[in-house]
Subunit: 358 residues, 2 copies
Amino acid sequence: KKRYNIALLPGDGIGPEVISVAKNVLQKAGSLEGLEFDFQEMPVGGAALDLVGVPMPEETFTAAKQSDAILLGAIGGYKWDKNEKHLRPEMALFYLRRDLKVFANLRPATVLPQLVDASTLKKEVAEGVDMMIVRELTGGIYFGEPRGIKINENGEEVGISTEIYAAHEIDRIARVAFETARKRRGKLCSVDKANVLDASILWRKRVTALASEYPDVELSHMYVDNAAMQLIRDPKQFDTIVTNNIFGDILSDEASMITGSIGMLPSASLGESGPGLFEPIHGSAPDIAGQDKANPLATILSAAMLLKYGLGEEKAAKRIEDAVVDALNKGFRTGDIYSPGNKLVGCKEMGEEVLKSV
Amino acid sequence: KKRYNIALLPGDGIGPEVISVAKNVLQKAGSLEGLEFDFQEMPVGGAALDLVGVPMPEETFTAAKQSDAILLGAIGGYKWDKNEKHLRPEMALFYLRRDLKVFANLRPATVLPQLVDASTLKKEVAEGVDMMIVRELTGGIYFGEPRGIKINENGEEVGISTEIYAAHEIDRIARVAFETARKRRGKLCSVDKANVLDASILWRKRVTALASEYPDVELSHMYVDNAAMQLIRDPKQFDTIVTNNIFGDILSDEASMITGSIGMLPSASLGESGPGLFEPIHGSAPDIAGQDKANPLATILSAAMLLKYGLGEEKAAKRIEDAVVDALNKGFRTGDIYSPGNKLVGCKEMGEEVLKSV
Ligand SMILES: CC(C)[C@H](C(=O)O)[C@@H](O)C(=O)O
Ligand SMILES: CC(C)[C@H](C(=O)O)[C@@H](O)C(=O)O
């Protein structure tokens, strides 16, 4: 029997509910494929702030770093919104990404046929959307130096953030994107603002140079403002998108909303080696926390990504993906994806229905 | 009789067609209100590159600078796409904005009842959308230093762009936004990424500090990733949005596509003093240039903004706005906004129909 160490970081708001459900699903799918998991649950974000005064305790990081893969719930909440920057729950995500060196963030945006009505886009525009956004996660303007609020020569405050990418940072994320596109429909669109930003000019140059190593992938380039439009005009034109940290933040959220079911979308953050970080893309939803109303499917599907991308256990991953489709086909819906004619269930019951089909 | 000098910069692609139509409309609306215009037409962008080898000739800038207001068509085209950065048509926009110091870019996104079907959003989501995006236009990552492609200590290329805002730059755009919101529905949403970027932390601090001077305006803040989602989920929640140069670039294009009629949307760029710059937000559309297919309404409505915001001639502006609605009510449509049951017309004919109603 294969054994894996899984770090569970439930975090805040609906995090604990969805993690508890996803853990059960992961365990069953694994055991049916001969896998055993040792789970270690650790506090992170606001929960850690309340417990030990910092958003990312040393022990949590050590447990995460030593695991084979990390499943995270959600981070943040009104309660800590007025905290100073370094004492905000979100900083935990920041440190985790940076210190685990998980530079490649994979964010699928898929419209399932069962849920096409949940989109605010017209049915004919939304149906069949199936894209993967590959976002650079440990560089760019999120981490670039210099940064801060300084006083200039006129005694005036100036806010500074630096968008900076070295060639090797662009190359490694571009390779992940080319490999991803190769396993999908073979189309890669690199999004930048090379008509204005020097950081984007280098980005485009490096991505273009790599294309010759992937002759089976069709590469195109698009400016970020145009991409923001095209995602609404005709999202089906996209297969795989690769872009920098801040554009990826914006476009992946836009794309997720196009699917209409942000409660359904998982993500994976991967490095060159070491454990990957898997989490739903939705937030901590403090307004519905603790009420058994959350949609656990994004976290369950993150567990599937954990199996597939984190551990290379594709069969177990497939079991989970199929089980989710099964539960949807049977008409089970949490409130966020409910439409008349279906069966409204809570977080736990949705988990049980998925579990039955695993 | 009042006389005004208007600089006309037709530019590239469909630019000349739409400018020629808008000029006639402007002239008629003005003369009915006792205004006379002296037009001076000058080359810019690709047209200027072909003529004199630079995208923004000295003479063009001088004419623009000395005018009372500038009406611009569109800039760019495949032909110059491989040019080096400083010889690209788009640089003309860059220099114009910077040297005219037009820091406030007003971009309305409105869904007209006649055109609600043109949106890819569901009718109930799109109808009634009426927002104004106030984008900072002469600062931030578009102009910040240091920038460029450098070699780092490992001999590796590094691309650098700097997002930088001084307090007074934030204050002056925020004031324009508060004033704009005050004249609209009194709601202002400031969009930033203050959970990550120091430049955004200063942005939020300054905007918040100004709010006490505008007690009649309801101020809120939103992260840019969330804003990209909310524009799709429920665009009607927005009245006035204020944001930095790059976020404004992305979000205003997204908002324009939500209306489904990018061929309808004008823009105004204003400074503290000196002439304003007025232009449609659509591009030069080289694929349909010279075929009398372009929609001139965005440029005609830009002429209305020129009258209203540039010259303070509200009555003449209103004449143009009403005439556009009139032509639409009569069923005239260019190809981009055509739907069955209406009358398909070309650029010139649409112009004539508007002219009749002025
Ligand atoms: C919470 C925030 C720092 C984070 C980001 O901007 O990366 C989030 O928006 C995300 O996309 O994971
Ligand atoms: C052409 C380009 C430089 C420009 C910009 O990014 O500002 C355009 O996208 C715009 O929004 O006016």
